[in-house]
């Protein structure tokens, strides 16, 4: 009788205790978007774009593009350096500042959606060059009478090491005018 009771106890113990340890899911914080709201994202993008344009204005005046990588990357950085080099080889130099008269989102979902944060966000802008002059090596202005406002299509992408938005592309927009 004692043997049967012992066997029953053994079965009870081995049968009821699970062989694998219980894994309790640890709460993982969901990935957070870069910006909490569209307004925050738009403000950050506009600030980054303005900083880039300021740096460009300086680079076209000094031919020094060493600081540009803090504001631009990829295609935008390469094209800007090429354009500044061409200014230098043509003996042209800029004075005055570019004004961003309009800045509006095209698709900035990557800034407010965590899963898309590696994708660039795109915007339209209107650049006003009325206050910009470009002179040649002899000091003569080479600015045409027209073409003082341009609609642009701009992309910005999040740079994790720098923890800021950088301009990744900027093209003249040939669609409906933004200006």
């Amino acid at each position: 009788m004692r043997i049967i009771a012992l066997m029953a106890l053994t079965l009870l113990l081995t049968g009821c205790v699970p062989s694998d340890p219980v894994v309790t899911p640890v709460p993982v914080p969901s990935a957070t978007p870069l910006f909490a709201t569209d307004a925050d994202a738009l403000k950050a993008a506009e600030d980054a774009y303005a900083a880039y344009e300021n740096q460009l204005d300086a680079d076209f005046a000094t031919y020094d593009t060493s600081e540009l990588a803090k504001f631009a990357s990829a295609e935008a950085l390469a094209k800007a350096k090429t354009a500044v080099e061409k200014f230098k080889s043509d003996g042209q130099r800029q004075s005055g500042s570019t004004v961003i008269s309009k800045f509006q989102p095209e698709d900035m979902s990557s800034l407010t959606n965590a899963r898309e944060s590696a994708s660039p966000a795109s915007f339209y802008s209107c650049l006003d060059f009325t206050g910009v002059n470009v002179t040649d090596a002899a000091g003569n202005s080479v600015v045409r009478s027209g073409g003082r406002q341009y609609s642009m299509e701009v992309s910005l992408v999040w740079n994790a090491p720098l923890r800021k938005l950088l301009v990744s592309s900027e093209e003249v927009w040939s669609g409906k005018s933004v200006c």
């Binding site: 061409k86 027209g146 093209e171």
Partner: protein, 254 residues
């Protein structure tokens, strides 16, 4: 143009003298000098448009002297209708915006065929286009503006259900140094008797240059139809010619 021909493949060799420097996009440097304009393609036309704004002035006019008496200039009629910020008649003007546009259309190409107006079933009929790169000049806001059209692709519809796109405009058998009825990069073989209408559409790429700047690419292409051709396909024994080809060498079939 010369042709380097193997057994089955002919490669068109374009002399270097016909090659142009690749146009660039409008750069951020060009935007600073105003060398870029708005360029749009609508059907077979490229339109360049731009606007120029002259700033207003705020220098008051010196009163005029009239018989020794200082007098203000007369107030213009209707000046009370000017928008806020605009003063009138006293030497203060608002900004003035001038807009301008210039349209450019490429000259259509010409489609040719050999033999002229007839085809022999089962052998090659040679088609070729007469077209070249063309530069058209105009003005925009008083500055010189030019558009350069370059033929890029040739869409032939041979009228028998065959539609092809070629990257070369082709050439005559003689110009290619080959024998009549030899296949070419643009030839076609009709397989059935009948009357056919052949159409050709040429795609042009476009670039513009404004105020002496660099060539800047225009997005898109222009599809421009060439003249249609008619042909009668038959076997060699039944093709008729109109009159004596020696007497009338340009007649049908000659």
């Amino acid at each position: 143009m010369t042709m380097a021909c193997g057994v089955f493949i002919c490669v068109a060799l374009v002399p270097a003298s016909l090659a142009f420097a690749d146009p660039t996009d409008c750069s951020i440097g060009d935007t600073r000098t105003g060398a870029c304009v708005n360029a749009t393609v609508d059907g077979g036309t490229v339109t360049l448009s731009d606007s120029s704004t002259k700033p207003g002035t705020n220098v008051p006019q010196i009163p005029t002297v009239n018989d020794g008496v200082f007098a203000a200039p007369p107030k213009p009629v209707g000046s009370h209708d000017l928008p806020p910020g605009y003063r009138d008649g006293y030497g203060v003007t608002g900004p003035l915006t001038l807009s301008d546009l210039a349209s450019f259309t490429p000259t259509a190409g010409t489609d040719h065929m050999q033999p002229n107006g007839w085809a022999v079933i089962g052998v090659s009929t040679n088609f070729y286009a007469e077209v070249s790169t063309q530069v058209q000049d105009g003005t925009l806001l008083g500055e010189p503006a030019s558009v350069r059209f370059t033929p890029k692709a040739f869409h032939w519809n041979y009228g028998d259900g065959t539609v092809v796109t070629r990257s070369t405009k082709g050439g005559t058998w003689a110009a290619q140094g080959i024998t009549d009825f030899d296949p070419t990069a643009t030839s076609h073989v009709y397989r059935a008797k009948g009357d056919y209408t052949i159409t050709l559409t040429i795609d042009f790429g476009a670039e513009y240059r404004y105020a002496g700047g660099d060539w800047i690419a225009v997005a898109g292409t222009l599809a421009v139809p060439a003249n249609p051709l008619s042909t009668t396909a038959g076997d060699a024994k039944t093709v008729l010619v109109s009159k004596d080809c020696l007497a009338n060498p340009s007649g049908p079939g000659c």
